[in-house]
Structures are given as C-alpha cells and as structure tokens.
Symmetry: C2
Subunit: 241 residues, 2 copies
C-alpha cells in the first residue's frame, strides 16, 4: 500500500516548484532506476510491482499495479518507480569540452543532449536558468541514465561565460566559419541555443569562435537543424580530431 | 462550419489504416502548411481561423476556433489545419547517399531523420515496412516541412538492398571500423536500425561496410546513441569530405 501522503508527495514532483522544495525527483523503469542506484545519487524509496532491487528493505516497497498507477507519471507505468534526492550544486571545474545551453525548452532535446555529452565525454553541461529542468521526468526518461554521468548545473549564463573567458567560447551561427574546415580547440565552451530563437543577443556578443554547419544538396531550405542533432554534429566534429 | 462528415473524415486520418484508404494526411500550423503548398503535394482543403493562404477559395474554409478544435490532433490547435493527398510511390532512382531505416518506430525520430536527410542533401529515404508511417501527424510535425523535399519510400528492405548491391551498404555496428578513420564512399546506402534492437540479423548480413561511432571519456557507458543523433553523426561524417 502506498499512503495518501506518499501519493501526494510523489505526484507533486511532476512540478519543478515542488521538486525544488523537497529536493527530490522521480525515476521510472527498472533500467533507469538501476543506473541511478549504481551512481552517487541518494535513494529515498523504490515502489515496485515485481522486480527486486539490490537495496535495503527499508527503501524497498512492493506494491500492487493499481498503486503504481496512482504514483506514476507515465500512461503505462513501468514496473517500478523510485524517488531520489536532487544533489547540491557542485562547484564546477571546467575541463576539456563543456556544453552550455542558452534556453533549451524541450525536455526531449535536453535529455538527448545529456546522452550526447555522456557519449562524447563532456563532463559538464551548463544550463541557463530558463533551460528546462534536468529533473523533469521527461528529461530523466530521455537521458537514459546519462544524467548519472554528466554534471548538469544551472547558472546565469552570461556571468558564467564572463568568469570563464580563458576558454574559447564557441557558438554555431549562420555567418560562422565552416565547422568542417575550421581548426577546433581541444578545450572550449560550446553554446547551443533555444529551439526557436537560437543563441540570445547578449550571449552572442561573448562568442569568440563562430562556426557554421553547412547545408548540402541543391534545394533551398528554410529550416535549421534541431538543437540536439546540431549538438551531435558539433561534438562529433570536436572529438574526431 | 465544418460538417460532421468532414470532422469524421479528418479525425480518421490519425490512423494509418484510414490514411491509406483515403490517401490523405493532415498538416497543422501555418508554417508547415505553406511548406506543403509550395511543393508538389496536392491540396484538398484548408481550415483556418484567421490566417489567409494563397489558394483558390474553393479549398479555403474560414472556421471558428471551436471547429478547429474538433478536427485538430493537437492539444493546442495552431490556427490552421490542412488536408493533402498522399502521393503515389515514385520509382526510386538512387543517387549519391541514400538512408535506409530498419524498423524505426518513434515518430519523433523519423521526423528528425527526414530533417537530417534534407539538411545533408539525401534525396531518398527508404523505410522498411515496419518503420513508422511518414504521414503520421507527429512525423509530419517533427519533420518541419522537410518531408516536401525528401522522397520517402516504404519497401521490403531486404529485397531493396539485394536489388541495389552495386552500392556499398553501410551499417553502424559495435564491431565496425572507426568512422572517423575509415575511407567513406561518395555513394552509399546507409542503414540505421530500430531504437531498441538495432539492425536486424537478415539485414546485417547484407552490410558491406561496417562502421562504429567511438565513445569518448573515461566512464563506462551502457547506452548507445539515439538513432536520430547517430544518423546526424554518420551523415555529417559522410558529407564533410
């Protein structure tokens, strides 16, 4: 049985406001939960219909499917749901490549970018305050455990960049140099912008290396690349050496 | 006013079965509709609350917001909805790079891959029969008009590949050669696999050039790249020259 107050608490964690008050977030599905269990994240409780997890019984509640339905954020609950603590912000020590997001709003895009940082060995992901919360359930789902390996920090992006001007500050802009031909530094802060508006004016002013991903083919296109796929191309290009 | 029979017809187009029976699909939003209007797609009708489109009046219905709500597939309808004809399958004449999808199921992934093909000048996208339908509303939304510039064809993938063995058949596999170091052909069929299971066994057997996108960083990762971001990396690498 899940108590009414537990249901209320867990349900409230779908909202950023309550995640910040309680400093808690939700992970759903056996695979995702195991990734967080074997990381530095601190477990609060697991609710599971069948699957056993390798944790002390006091954290582990076996529940009926109908109870899981009451607390799950998914249309089709995935056998288990866990609550973890949101860690305190670490001080960031930049190292090699860093990605900085300027107002990315779509949870799927942020989740995908976290996976890309994980894949391409980017330790730190800096998010502007208006970027979607990385403990949003859809971000946690889309990041597939990579959130346990990438340090995601929210900060005032302009101040952050001004404090780190010893790193080249890279942005992809239409008028930038062809990324395939430019000489790319081993250490840099790579800025990726908002889905609709790109990089904001005040952040653009701080860019020291402006790059462009060229289009191919004969047809005229009105669209840009999606921010997550553009991040994939940029990180691949920086890493390929 | 939108008649009951129109509402019923349009609503039915959320299902592949009825799209195939009527040979019709839906585009929502002014920007998307304009992309399809200025393409070879044939318009059937536009339902709009305010926005005027540059088409004959017989195709153009001004409707109330509550009527648009009745026919829209979106939670928040976007000012206008249009119905277009699904074109007959063209015969495919392969040229340069072709992408072939082996069971991609997520509409967002297919939409993103269509955008990538558009960006990287890939004219033909071949989809296995179990790949999600490109006229699915979510695919149309995610492809952002690129569907008007990329020729998407569904076929039995094995037969298609057997009929085109004069092209190198490329697949990304764990045991493949480092894509950053391999010599890549200018013409090829690039196969991308299912989200959960990758490329199927019978298709794997046909691969003539097996490539791998290396991971970076010191931490051990359990996850692969998402199929859309992997497609971004592969197409970028083939095009960069």
């Amino acid at each position: 049985m899940v108590s009414k107050s537990q249901i209320k608490l867990i349900k409230s964690l779908s909202q950023k406001k309550f995640r910040n008050i309680h400093k808690l977030f939700v992970v759903e599905g056996v695979k995702g939960i195991n990734e967080f269990l074997y990381s530095d994240y601190e477990l609060v409780s697991i609710y599971s219909t069948r699957q056993k997890f390798d944790v002390s019984e006091k954290y582990h509640l076996m529940v009926e499917e109908r109870d899981l339905k009451k607390i799950s954020f998914l249309k089709t609950p995935q056998e288990a749901l866990a609550v973890f603590k949101i860690p305190e912000d670490d001080s960031v020590s930049l190292n090699g490549l860093t990605v900085a997001l300027d107002g990315v709003r779509d949870p799927g895009n942020l989740g995908t970018i976290i996976r890309l940082c994980d894949w391409f060995g980017v330790e730190n992901l800096i998010c502007s305050k208006d970027t979607v919360d990385c403990y949003n359930t859809k971000v946690v789902q889309a990041s597939m455990g990579s959130l346990t390996r990438v340090n995601v920090q929210y900060s005032d992006l302009k101040s952050f960049l001004l404090a780190n001007r010893d790193f080249p500050i890279v942005g992809t802009l239409l008028e930038g140099d062809n990324i395939y031909k430019a000489s790319l530094p081993a250490s840099a802060i790579i800025i990726m912008g908002n889905e609709a508006n790109g990089i904001s004016e005040e952040i653009k002013d701080l860019i020291s290396l402006s790059l462009n991903i060229p289009q191919f083919g004969s047809l005229q296109k009105t669209e840009s690349l999606n921010v997550a796929t553009a991040t994939a191309v940029v990180l691949s290009e920086f890493r390929r050496g």
